[in-house]
């Protein structure tokens, strides 16, 4: 399946990755090649085959709804790019 420049821009926005014109051109080629590789899948007959998410078909375990981890906010925020008063700082979102 061919992928267009529009597709690249749309998917880059979805993935929140800035892509300039030169990169978009290279990606059009690379992603096109990758998608033709994966298009081999379309030839497989998968009628009635249950999709496989886990090799051993295990399901999510549940645990009792109890607090097991103590608060370590200061430790975790020590490695953040920007914090203030225990909050993570980002550029202004609401005017």
């Amino acid at each position: 399946m061919a992928i267009s420049r529009d597709d690249i821009e749309k998917v880059a926005l979805l993935a929140r990755i800035q892509v300039d014109d030169a990169q978009a051109a290279a990606l059009e080629q690379d992603l096109g090649n990758i998608l033709s590789l994966v298009d081999q899948l379309q030839a497989a007959d998968t009628t009635g085959v249950e999709p496989m998410a886990h090799p051993l078909d295990a399901v999510q375990r549940l645990r009792p709804d109890e607090v097991t981890e103590g608060n370590q906010r200061e430790r975790f925020q020590a490695i953040a790019p920007a914090t203030e008063d225990g909050l993570y700082l980002v550029p202004k979102v609401i005017e």
């Binding site: 929140r16 690379d30 994966v38 081999q40 998968t46 886990h54 090799p55 295990a58 975790f76 790019p81």
Partner: protein, 481 residues
Amino acid sequence: MHDKTVSELARDLAEGKVSSVELTRHFLNRIQQEDSRYNSFITLCEEQALADAEAADQLRARGEATPWTGIPFAHKDIFCTDGIRTTCGSRMLENFVPPYNATVTDNFRQAGAVCLGKTNMDEFAMGSSNESSYFGAVTNPWGENRVPGGSSGGSAAAVAARLVPAATATDTGGSIRQPAALCGITGLKPTYGRVSRYGMIAFASSLDQGGTMARTAEDNALMLNVMAGFDPKDSTSIDRPVPDYTASLNQPLQGLRIGLPKEYFSDQLDPAMAAQIQAAVKEYEKLGATVKDISLPNANLAIAAYYVIAPAEASANLSRFDGVRYGYRCDNPKDLMDLYTRTRAEGFGAEVKRRILVGSYALSAGYYDAYYRKAQQVRRLIQQDFINAFKEVDLIMSPTSPSPAFVRGEKTTDPVTMYLEDIFTIAVNLAGLPAMSVPAGFVNGLPVGLQIIGDYFAEARLLNAAHQFQQVTDWHLRSPV
């Protein structure tokens, strides 16, 4: 001293021939002197290592030593280490110091092993040559211009160059087996769920599995003894007893049934590679095994299914890198969208971005059924092939990689060329099976790996088969240094 295996070093420590501090100093010196040639380490943790070695010697003096007490080793830089930088080979995590340990990290600490440092890898484990690391490519000790394979290329090169006797690794599509093959060492990817993924930075969560790298099968068994087990912190961990993997190493192979998939021995396989693998299979026959041809009819679809499933899961996993809570953040973001898009554009390398974009595309509205669902259906067909094969045979053998170590830059122009490097290893990850790569000869002076695939939780049987092979061959003893 650095030519000794983990089990030999453990014996020397037990007999008091050497102390852990001496061993640790020896290997640290060796890394400092030699690693500029290989670039196999991203971070060395000398202070911590020497402190751990002293503690190990004291433990031994009190008579409380285990087989790993005081043994130096290295972690792939994908396992979080509390207080020690963990980069995953990415600019995104260049300065990331985790506030917690991976379960695998804790396992080795509790066993008393001494971590010397963190090994180089393809960025976020995406690659088969170690050329995608933000910290520079790794050189294969067998050839100056040759790649070590990937993504665990730093661990493989460090073990091959005798900088450490053992190193941890991870395998999502062949990232333990292929570098083990290309560097002439022994590596094991366990059954999915056997080793905890907690604190192992996620790439493709339904495929990722931590495992072992060392020079001998016996050392791989010693490592797996420490790493395997149920972990409530990993929701896909399997609750199942862990055997002593060293206990069955010496069982005879009489009556072992080996299958050779005809799809992996096609006309396209390099005859020189095929000859080495056939010779290895002959050794197994001499050891009492029987050999038959088998078929994995959907094997040719494995790469296609993988390059939907792995990028799709990666695009979800790597969405956590947003420049807000930890990791890289771009300078002077003008608004929140600019913060996200520029942080991710600058923090990720080209291959990681390609895979995130492919994954986002495959999961986007209108394409999910055609790509992700279809790939998961094909995944079940591939698994079914293995289930059928294991009704007739105990182990499956093939080459680990289509060729020995290739030249740096040879496969970087078109990403698809690099993806084909994993043609023999990827189906195993899709099925979730355990598999090893064992040194089995040389082509043009470069090591060749024999891949051995086992049924679910057959790690002990794999290690037994690899160990018996290593009793009658000496490929694993050949050294590039």
